[in-house]
Amino acid sequence: MKFSREYTKLQDRVFSTIRGHSYYNEGEVIECQTPHRVLRARVLLKVAMRFRNIPECLLQYDTDSPELSAAECREEIRSLYRGDPPDDDDIMTIYWLEKLSEAK
């Protein structure tokens, strides 16, 4: 799972991330790649909902932007997609990940 920058949330033992796919399952151990490091993390929790319904606090946490509204956060997330950014009606997956170790 790729992260485009060193988000503040990546310092937390448990952090969440919003994705347009649902590749990973609860209990699975995955690698999280940032521009500077690789973390191993376990998927603790996975939920799916329409983009427009994702609670504001989760959107703000995801984008490191507590000052933005939910709509602004969704725009911020859309800007990270190169090809096909999600519409408000698209189903998104929210993963909660528990950091296990830093690989490098």
Binding site: L45, V47, M49, N53, P55, C57, L58
Partner: protein, 181 residues
């Protein structure tokens, strides 16, 4: 297993007060998928501006009296609510409160599930003023299961129900919400 999480906004604590908004979310406890089932403002026949306009809900949420006055009638809302109550096992955060309003209107789910507020109280163990553990607020329970995610309850039915659904999913995943409790 798919369940429904219900939330009602009302003009007071007594079941004879008015229901003004209904929110319900379908939650698949296995996949974590959620879906909006109900998100509707309702106007009960006994709702009036003079009698209910100063209710707590109108000063603690984005809801206005005018929203309710122009909302769909209870008769229309009741039918949609009835489908949810028939099709899903149902719960609510502080189930006793929401279900007392349903019962007063002759409505009850075919199958009910444990109350997540009661189940969370056993985990959070917040001392109560008279001994024992107090019932946690939704924000307190949220803060326990989602530390670092600041959540302020909107007191809007769908938004509250969605947060309750996420809470239940987290509780169920870590073994704190047993469907048979």
């Amino acid at each position: 297993m798919k369940i429904a999480v219900l939330d009602l906004e009302t003009t007071g604590f007594d079941p004879r007060d008015c229901i003004v908004e209904i929110g319900a979310v379908e939650l698949d406890l296995d996949s974590g998928e959620t879906k909006c089932l109900l998100n509707m403002l309702v106007r009960e026949a006994h709702f009036t501006k003079s009698q209910h306009g100063r209710s707590w809900i109108f000063s603690h949420s984005g809801l206005t009296v005018w929203d309710v006055l122009s909302a769909t009638s209870w008769k229309n809302a009741e039918q949609e609510l009835r489908w949810v109550l028939e099709d899903y096992p149902v719960t609510a955060f502080n189930k006793a409160f929401d279900f007392s309003f349903l019962k007063h209107r002759g409505l009850l789910p075919k199958r009910t599930l444990p109350c997540p507020m009661i189940e969370a109280s056993k985990v959070l163990k917040i001392p109560g003023p008279y001994g024992g553990y107090k019932w946690p607020t939704l924000e307190e329970a949220w803060g326990h299961y989602f530390p670092g995610l600041d959540y302020t309850e909107q007191h809007r039915a769908f938004d509250d129900a969605l947060h309750e659904a996420l809470l239940i999913k987290a509780m169920h995943t870590v073994g704190d919400y047993n469907l048979e409790a």
